[in-house]
């Protein structure tokens, strides 16, 4: 009884501690805002700007629509990256032949940071939807491929031996053993891909777009609207966190054996 009480008290203590750190952050923010109001909008101003934005959308596009535009670009790109990436990654991890052909080309292209593709993509495809989705695809594809290939390589030899004993053919080996065994690794890849994809789409939108959160934040910069920039940063952060939660949720649904560990 005494022990439970003690633990309860320490729980409360640490909760208060983390709450006060947030309060401290806001106090610091308010202090800075009072010192340099032209650089730091106060929490109140930021809130007012958000309300104004909701009432009077920029370019007649409501806030949620900007967010959805960005999310759609990431969604399509990551979905495609998963589709192609899992196939190529499995092939890379499974077959020497694929590894020494496609694998070599892939290893040459992979170290190029996705942002370095921007000029070429802009010359080739302009600044429409397609090059943005393509840029996110380029950035996330490699992540999915590398994780999948690693997962396939790490399948327990014992599991493969069991498949062999049961006379599984190559397709059954891949479908029934290799793929499920590498699912956790593949999901680690998808989770990273979502995070990175979210970062890349912002970069793509900042370099030229008429909608999306990346566009909003550069808009804020060009008109010196720091409150708008703040709002965008908050939203970008929240969405990023939500994407991570979403990935965990899907992972739990698809890999139920990983849950109560």
């Amino acid at each position: 009884m005494e022990k439970i009480k003690k633990r309860f008290i320490s729980e409360i203590f640490y909760s208060i501690l983390s709450l006060s750190s947030i309060i401290l952050l806001i106090l610091g923010w308010m202090y800075l805002a009072s010192k340099r109001p032209e650089l730091f909008p106060s929490p109140q101003e930021t809130w007012d700007r958000l309300i104004l934005f909701l009432e009077k959308p920029i370019r007649r596009i409501p806030l949620y629509s900007h967010v959805l535009d960005s999310l759609r670009r990431v969604g399509i790109a990551v979905l495609l990256a998963c589709g192609f990436g899992i196939v190529l990654g499995t092939a890379l991890g499974w077959s020497r032949l694929v590894k020494s052909t496609f694998g070599t080309i892939f290893e040459l292209i992979r170290p190029i940071p996705p942002i370095a593709w921007v000029p070429l993509l802009t010359i080739w495809f302009g600044i429409g939807e397609f090059p943005k989705v393509l840029l996110v695809f380029i950035g996330t594809f490699a992540i999915v491929v590398v994780n999948t290939a690693a997962g396939v390589k790490m399948v327990e030899p014992l599991s493969l031996a069991v498949g062999k004993i049961f006379q599984a053919n190559e397709f059954q080996m891949l479908k029934e053993i290799v793929l499920p065994a590498s699912l956790p690794a593949i999901f680690a890849g998808i989770r990273t891909a979502l995070g990175v994809g979210w970062a890349i789409v912002l970069a793509a939108e900042m370099l030229g777009a008429v909608s999306g959160t990346g566009f909003l934040i550069t808009k804020g910069m060009s008109i010196g609207d720091t409150a708008l920039i703040f709002i965008c940063m908050f939203i970008i952060g929240i969405i990023g966190a939500l994407l991570s939660v979403l990935a965990s949720f899907i992972e739990r649904r698809i890999c139920p054996w990983k849950t109560d560990r």
Partner: protein
């Protein structure tokens, strides 16, 4: 008493060399249909090679392995193998794991359900049906792996020290379990172990392998009634005899 059962497996002059290293030297023996055969031998005498040959995981240098009078062909004959380490698939629950081999062989849905149900009820795994391997104890997991092998209704079931990592209590329990399944289903079993007591407890016949290169040193028939008593005078006598024949220390 003469064993009237027909021959299921026939091993003729089986020899295996790895380069110049002779591992298995001209081994010949027969296994009756539905027999429980234990193989014991000194550590490192080539038991694993022996099993790999029987399971067709590797090719013999010379000699034949016949099942039902025909050369063993994994495509045609049904072989099952229980590995030393628990080899269930973590992404399948108990029921799906037991069903795995049947899925691979594309067994008819109705037969599949029937066999899986039979195994589950024989092994008393009902309450674990939907559990994943990481939720099970090691012994329950190994039971499920053994169930998976029996579910295949194999022509030949090979077991490679499946209880090597269990404590003694669990081992006694699982030994009884495997005897029960074997009696119930009439599967032909080859069980490899280095635990002599286990071999005498389980087997109808024990093959004693010699040191490398492995030959069959002796065959010991055990016609003790079941359930056997490890403290019984006859049991102890056989155990001592087999031990003397091996003497790897």
């Amino acid at each position: 008493m003469k064993d009237k059962r027909i021959n299921k497996v026939e091993v003729k002059n089986l020899t295996k060399k790895f380069g110049d290293l002779l591992v298995l030297d001209n081994v010949s023996f027969k296994i009756k249909k539905g027999e429980f055969l234990c193989v014991v031998g000194p550590t490192g005498c080539g038991k694993t090679t022996f099993l790999n040959l029987l399971s067709c995981l590797c090719e013999p240098t010379s000699g034949d392995l016949l099942i039902d009078g025909e050369p063993a062909n994994p495509k045609k004959h049904n072989l099952a193998f229980v590995f030393q380490e628990p080899s269930s698939f973590p992404w399948l629950n108990v029921e799906q794991n037991i069903q795995f081999g049947l899925d691979i062989k594309k067994t008819r849905q109705k037969d599949k359900k029937e066999r899986v149900e039979r195994i589950i009820s024989l092994m008393g795994l009902e309450q674990f049906r939907n559990s994943y391997p990481h939720q099970l104890s090691v012994s329950t997991e190994q039971r499920q792996v053994i169930g998976r092998a029996f579910a295949m209704d194999p022509d030949l079931l090979l077991m490679d020290e499946p209880y090597g990592q269990m404590d003694i209590k669990m081992r006694y329990y699982l030994e009884d379990e495997v005897v029960r399944l074997w009696k119930e289903l009439g599967t032909t079993v080859v069980f490899i172990t280095h635990n002599i007591e286990e071999a005498v407890y389980l087997a109808e016949r024990i093959l004693i392998l010699s040191n490398k290169p492995a030959k069959i040193k002796e065959e010991v028939l055990i016609d003790l009634p079941r359930p056997r008593d490890v403290a019984d005078e006859k049991f102890v006598k056989i155990r001592k005899y087999v031990t003397d024949q091996i003497k790897w220390w």
